[in-house]
């Protein structure tokens, strides 16, 4: 297959599945929002402000999943030398960072309502999530400071693998919080809620995972196309 035909085929493949993913995301996110605002009852302890958690917690788990996906693809790159794994790992980390930004923003808004502060440096769970976030910000600094090629892919993969260690630390920090109480959503026995709250949370989690996968597919498709175009340009030069 010629490079031109391969590029056209790649564009064609991306256009088949993306509309389905985008439509699923739209339906799920809209339904989740409807459940958050019109179905889920007010929390007895926190009242209306607890509604932030449906997306805040879901986005945190989505960010962890993206970073985990980045680490998995980094491992595939280092272990099996899968040429596509480096790009996948990069896109996963990028998605994780976007959802991480949203976790920090929504968390700050919730903290302002409940604690009266936008940010508290004394709180381990906030600072550890910020450390995780900044660690992955530095991933991009590392990646773009090295020339494209095997060395950049290897360095990025090792870095992404190290980052995954911070995920359980960040998750455990919520349980170590002392001064203020960051609500614990999940225990070893299961979630700390039930009924419509659980249904709404599950729906929000599913919606955000599908949304993340849709955005991942769009970005990955674009990046692959960019790589193919660069090769094609080189071939035609």
């Amino acid at each position: 297959m010629s490079p031109a035909a391969a590029t056209i085929s790649a564009v064609g493949r991306a256009r088949i599945s993306l509309p389905v993913l985008a439509a699923s995301s739209l339906v799920l996110v809209t339904t989740a929002l409807a459940f958050v605002f019109f179905v889920a009852p007010n929390d007895a302890d926190q009242g209306f402000s607890q509604r932030i958690f449906y997306f805040h917690v879901s986005m945190a788990f989505t960010a962890y999943a993206c970073f985990g996906g980045g680490a998995w693809n980094a491992l595939r790159h280092l272990w099996k030398r899968d040429p596509r794994a480096d790009l996948r790992s990069y896109v996963c980390v990028h998605q994780g960072l976007i959802f991480g930004t949203l976790v920090l923003l929504t968390g700050s808004i919730w903290a302002k309502i409940s604690w009266g502060h936008w940010w508290l440096w004394s709180e381990d769970e906030l600072v550890l999530f910020l450390v995780l976030y900044l660690f992955y910000c530095a991933y991009f600094m590392l990646r773009f400071s090295v020339e494209p090629g095997p060395q950049r892919a290897n360095l990025s993969a090792v870095y992404a693998l190290f980052g995954v260690i911070l995920i359980p630390v960040s998750f455990a920090a919520i349980r170590l919080a002392k001064t203020f109480t960051h609500p614990e959503v999940f225990h070893l026995k299961g979630p700390s809620f039930g009924g419509w709250i659980l249904v709404t949370y599950c729906l929000s989690q599913a919606a955000l995972l599908v949304l993340a996968y849709t955005l991942y597919s769009v970005e990955l498709g674009g990046k692959r196309l960019d790589v193919r175009l660069r090769r094609l340009r080189e071939a035609l030069a």
Partner: protein
């Protein structure tokens, strides 16, 4: 609208705005890629034009 309701609404608006900005950036990037594909497609010689002209045959 209570203060709590305002903050919750703001939180969801922030989520919406960030996702919207991301989608817009992606759309702009894809538009640029599409332009580049068109530009490269224009540089690739057309296979139909390269084919040797067919001989005309008298019918009837």
């Amino acid at each position: 609208m209570t203060t709590s309701e305002k903050y919750v609404t703001a939180a969801y608006c922030v989520v919406f705005a960030v996702v919207l900005v991301y989608v817009l950036i992606m759309a702009l990037k894809l538009q640029r890629l599409e332009r580049e594909v068109d530009e490269l497609a224009g540089r690739v010689p057309d296979e139909d034009a390269e084919e040797s002209p067919r001989e005309t045959a008298q019918v009837g």
